[in-house]
């Protein structure tokens, strides 16, 4: 190492927007001011995944893992750690033992990083650092040492399946496109990560953009395509910037463009921006959007692998799928196939969020159990509450309840219990979350995002939403449950694309596992979790109220009356059920129910 120390500062969106940028600048200033810039190098890296504890700074070579670092800590880190060589104990994740490295933290212990191998390790804005970690070696191998059939065989043997959610075998997809004769073929990267509560692809593009470019070029070589498009959400400005920068560098190094590495293979990549339409995650809709049109899906077959972008054969894979490929080529299919379960190989990245202690981005081998993810990696449920369910697959998925915490997570197992792998959103819910409310949230999303082309999705979704809304207001009937099921079946069978076909999944799944909650809303007119505002009332317990007026003062609609030191009352007609009085009362005098 040329420098004595390396300071790795997370430059992912969550950390950077949480004063991480100011922290980086402050560290830079302090290194200069304290004359330490010759000894230590400051490096911006991609996401460490431990977003809950951000901004994160890792100091090499001793691997000190600093969490929740603010710009105000820069002076101390430089003065103590860099100049004097003493880690700043109070900023370490494990405060009792100084110099505890990231590998020892429970959050990382059960993880295996293949897709995120370079995130938090290299500077995503430097192609040299990517190359130093064997970057573009896989592309070189594919161009000079492998035939296209060998590449496809390698992917097939590895058992790599699409990480966008459906799990289609990647090797097979490529084979279809390779075997079609056409004057023009395309490679497309789906980075239109629309699942609310998921950000795996964004972090990969931000933290390791070259891995996506390299894999796309490999696909180009394999199927005989010379142009690629990355379709990415406009809401991800940092990821777009990093990808643009990476494309520029790769062209400069002759790794994209005409005659790559002196061979006869030419391939170039352009970025196309999405514009906020969830349906564009569906491949035919995505292609329509790249073509500059409204993103409406069309019936398949023909599949894009045969007839895709501008009618030409097109390979579409998701960011996470792409990021796996260079490693499979370099390390071999046997290495990859040894990880995971019988039918699901490799790892899966999840965005672990919700009511969990350690929110963040995690990568685990397929076959890891939900219990390991939630309790070992995620550190359990926040505020000591009780686990209720984990939701995977976003608006197209379902819930996993306590009794299934120990099943190994893979494509088949999740499907068997009525959820799905999805793109990797994993939202943990506790006892305070109402399943009807959450289902309504997802339905509202899919209704809003339905493109409106086919009736089952357009009308079925809206009708189902209306029924759920009715139930959440205590106006539902038991017949409504039958109607929900019937409509859900119709949508599954008759919708044109994945959006409509999977939109009823949250309903089916919550009805299966939380039927009692539906009944409570319908029969008892109660929301057990206390979330549905129409079924909720706040009352003041006269015995406990001391008349401190705290509730009256915090009430935004001034519906709490009463004199000082006398019992207060809530005017139920005016109450908007915001719960602020409940939060404020120190005497437990307000009853929610």
């Amino acid at each position: 190492m040329a420098y004595k120390n390396y300071l790795l500062v997370c430059a992912g969106t969550a950390c950077e927007s949480n004063k991480g940028k100011a922290l980086y600048e402050e560290l830079q200033k302090e290194l200069q001011a304290q004359g330490a810039d010759a000894e230590a190098q400051l490096v911006k890296t991609g996401c460490f995944g431990f977003c809950e504890q951000g901004p994160i700074v890792k100091v090499l070579p001793d691997e000190s893992f600093y969490v929740k670092v603010g710009p105000e800590h820069a002076q101390k880190i430089v003065a103590e750690h860099i100049v004097k060589g003493r880690p700043v104990a109070e900023l370490l994740y494990d405060k009792k033992q100084s110099s505890k490295s990231a590998d020892d933290i429970a959050f990382y212990q059960k993880q295996k990083r293949i897709v995120l191998r370079n995130c938090g390790v290299i500077n995503p804005e430097s192609i040299d650092e990517y190359i130093a970690r064997d970057g573009y070696a896989a592309l070189e191998k594919v161009i000079f040492e492998m035939t296209p059939d060998q590449v496809i065989e390698e992917l097939t043997n590895a058992g790599l399946r699409g990480r966008g959610g459906a799990g289609f075998p990647t090797g097979l997809k490529w084979k279809f496109t390779k075997n079609v004769a056409s004057d023009q073929k395309y490679i497309v990267c789906n980075a239109d990560e629309g699942d609310p509560g998921a950000y795996m692809d964004r972090s990969t593009c931000e933290g390791d953009p070259h891995s996506v470019l390299e894999a796309m070029a490999i696909a180009g070589r394999t199927v005989g395509a010379n142009r690629g498009f990355i379709y990415i959400r406009a809401e991800y400005p940092l990821a777009i910037e990093r990808l643009e920068n990476a494309i520029g560098q790769a062209r400069e190094y002759g790794l994209l463009g005409e005659g790559i590495l002196g061979s006869d293979f030419s391939f170039d990549i352009e970025i196309r921006l999405g514009a906020g339409a969830f349906v564009c995650g569906e491949e035919t809709a995505l292609l329509a959007s790249i073509e500059g049109k409204r993103g409406m899906p069309i019936p398949r077959p023909p599949f894009p692998a045969v007839k895709g972008l501008w009618g030409k054969p097109t390979v579409i894979n998701n960011v996470e799928t792409w990021a796996n490929i260079p490693m499979i080529i370099l390390k071999g299919s046997a290495w990859f196939a040894a990880i995971g379960t019988e039918k699901s190989k490799g790892t899966k990245v999840f965005a672990l969020t919700g009511k969990i202690n350690n929110s963040g981005l995690i990568e685990v081998p397929m076959g890891t159990t939900l219990r390991e993810i939630i309790y070992d990696i995620g550190g359990g449920i926040r505020n000591g509450k009780k686990f209720k369910a984990a939701q995977t697959g976003g608006p197209s998925g379902g819930v996993i309840t306590e009794e299934y915490l120990d099943i190994p997570i893979d494509y088949e197992n999740l499907q068997a219990i009525g959820s799905m792998m999805g793109s990797g959103g994993m939202i943990v819910m506790d006892e305070d979350d109402c399943m009807i409310d959450v289902t309504k949230f997802y339905l509202e999303f899919t209704v809003d995002e339905s493109c409106g082309k086919c009736a089952p999705c357009r009308i079925g979704g809206r009708t189902n939403y209306n029924i759920l809304d009715k139930i959440s207001k205590g106006q539902g009937t038991m017949e409504d449950l039958e109607k929900l099921k019937e409509l859900a079946q119709a949508m599954r069978k008759a919708s044109l694309c994945g959006l409509g076909q999977t939109a009823p999944n949250p309903i089916m799944s919550t009805m299966k596992y939380f039927e009692d909650e539906y009944r409570a809303h319908i029969v008892d007119k109660k929301c057990p979790a206390g979330k549905c505002k129409h079924l909720l009332s706040y009352t003041i317990v006269a015995d406990k109220c001391v008349g401190c007026t705290a509730c009256a003062r915090v009430c935004p609609v001034h519906c709490i009356g009463g004199e000082v030191k006398k019992v207060h009352t809530i005017d139920q007609a005016q109450c908007i059920k915001c719960g602020q009085c409940f939060e404020k009362c120190k005497f437990d005098a307000i009853l929610k129910g």
Binding site: E52, G194, P196, E235, A277, E291, G292, R294
Partner: protein, 161 residues
């Protein structure tokens, strides 16, 4: 009055140069609309007509695209744009309460601009900072773990600035 002056163009020379650069690329419309919105904060009617002319695409088709995608706006947002994240993680942690608070504090509903043009509030899909949920952005600046009280403070912070 002599000859009327040529009607002033809405699109800046920079945007026109951008259009020129994209003119021959198939599927250019969405990229051009992004550029226009980047300049004005929304897509003014006049600009849409000029884009139609420049790219030789019917205005109806352009409006078809604009209205299909959530990202494109047809009316001018407030000087301070508040975006409350309504991704699942933020929703579970109280995103809706923050929207209610904004509506209450500013007296306007979602996607409406306050009378003085200072603020507009919108609900957005996941912005990918789930670790900081619930999240609000104002003019792109991210605020994490926002409470309803904190929301009021954030609004104060931007008011009149």
């Amino acid at each position: 009055m002599t000859a009327t002056a040529a009607k002033e163009k809405m699109l800046t020379p920079e945007i026109e140069a951008f259009i020129e650069q994209w003119r021959d690329k198939p599927g250019n419309l969405i990229m051009v609309l992004h550029r226009v919105q980047g300049e004005f904060g929304y897509i003014p009617r006049e600009a849409a007509f000029e884009v139609a002319h420049a790219l030789d695409i019917p205005v109806a088709k352009i409006y078809g695209v604009i209205t299909f995608y959530h990202f494109f706006k047809l009316s001018k947002p407030g000087r301070n744009q508040i975006a409350v994240c309504m991704g699942t993680a933020c929703y579970l942690k109280g995103g809706q309460d923050l929207i209610d608070e904004c509506e209450r504090a500013l007296g306007v509903g979602l996607n409406t601009v306050t009378e003085d043009g200072e603020f507009s509030v919108e609900a957005v899909r996941c912005i990918g900072c789930c670790g900081l949920a619930p999240v609000v952005t104002v003019n792109g600046e991210v605020f994490g773990s926002v409470t309803t009280k904190g929301m009021a403070k954030i609004i104060d912070q931007f008011e009149g600035k």
